[in-house]
Symmetry: C2
Subunit: 135 residues, 2 copies
């Protein structure tokens, strides 16, 4: 693993924040949407917040395979892995961020949930250097 490149990828995750999360829909088609990162642990895991009654949560329940992609004109950073829904009150409180109040009553809103993505494979293209690998 190119540690310098994975460090740059981790920085992109936290700097760009807005990424494309792709889940598998009920018909087996990939389905993408733009989503904001709540937290990340290097390139190992990425946390999102959302609604328990949303299409995303339903899709995750049906199929836990996902992809997270951060793109710009100068780089393409993509991770494939598994995603799970967390409803633990402490986790929900910890992962809450400003702006979510437009969608949920608060961190104890029963519809608010945390989605934790764990990377299995990464594909990085940064500063004209390419690397693919697994974690």
């Amino acid at each position: 693993m190119d540690k310098e490149l994975t460090k740059k990828a981790a920085e992109i995750i936290l700097k760009q924040r807005d990424c494309v999360l792709t889940l598998i829909d009920k018909d087996g088609y990939p389905s993408s949407s733009v989503l904001t990162v709540s937290h990340a642990d290097g390139i190992k895991s990425i946390i999102f917040c959302g609604g328990l009654g949303s299409n995303k949560a339903k899709r995750i329940e049906n199929c836990n395979r996902a992809c997270v992609c951060f793109g710009s004109e100068s780089y393409s950073v993509s991770f494939s892995g598994d995603i799970e829904i967390l409803t633990d009150p402490d986790v929900k409180k910890e992962m809450w961020y400003e702006g979510l109040e437009h969608h949920f009553k608060g961190h104890d809103d029963p519809d608010y949930c945390v989605m934790k993505f764990t990377t299995k494979r990464y594909s990085l293209f940064i500063d004209w250097i390419e690397e693919k690998g697994g974690l």
Copy 2:
């Protein structure tokens, strides 16, 4: 269908050009990468160019289900549908665009191919208006 919204989505496709294409990998995981649009027919079909020996072409041969997503801070435009590889010389010539010469010898390079995505479902979020539907 909201014709005004789909018109805006078609404009975004041609203006943004760089999008996230997601295919299904051999393990059944969604796998995304940043790619440039060559041509588009409204929101009905989107054309990309690439290599016949690339991971993308191999994935399409294995599974033709795909998703194309155009995202920014102010919109999220996403299409799920089928994708096919075209190697017809006339199509390859028509879809060739400036910049491809960095990757291929010319429009008759046997490794150069055209990937045609056809929309089945769309999910649009533009100017705070949301619409989902099928074509």
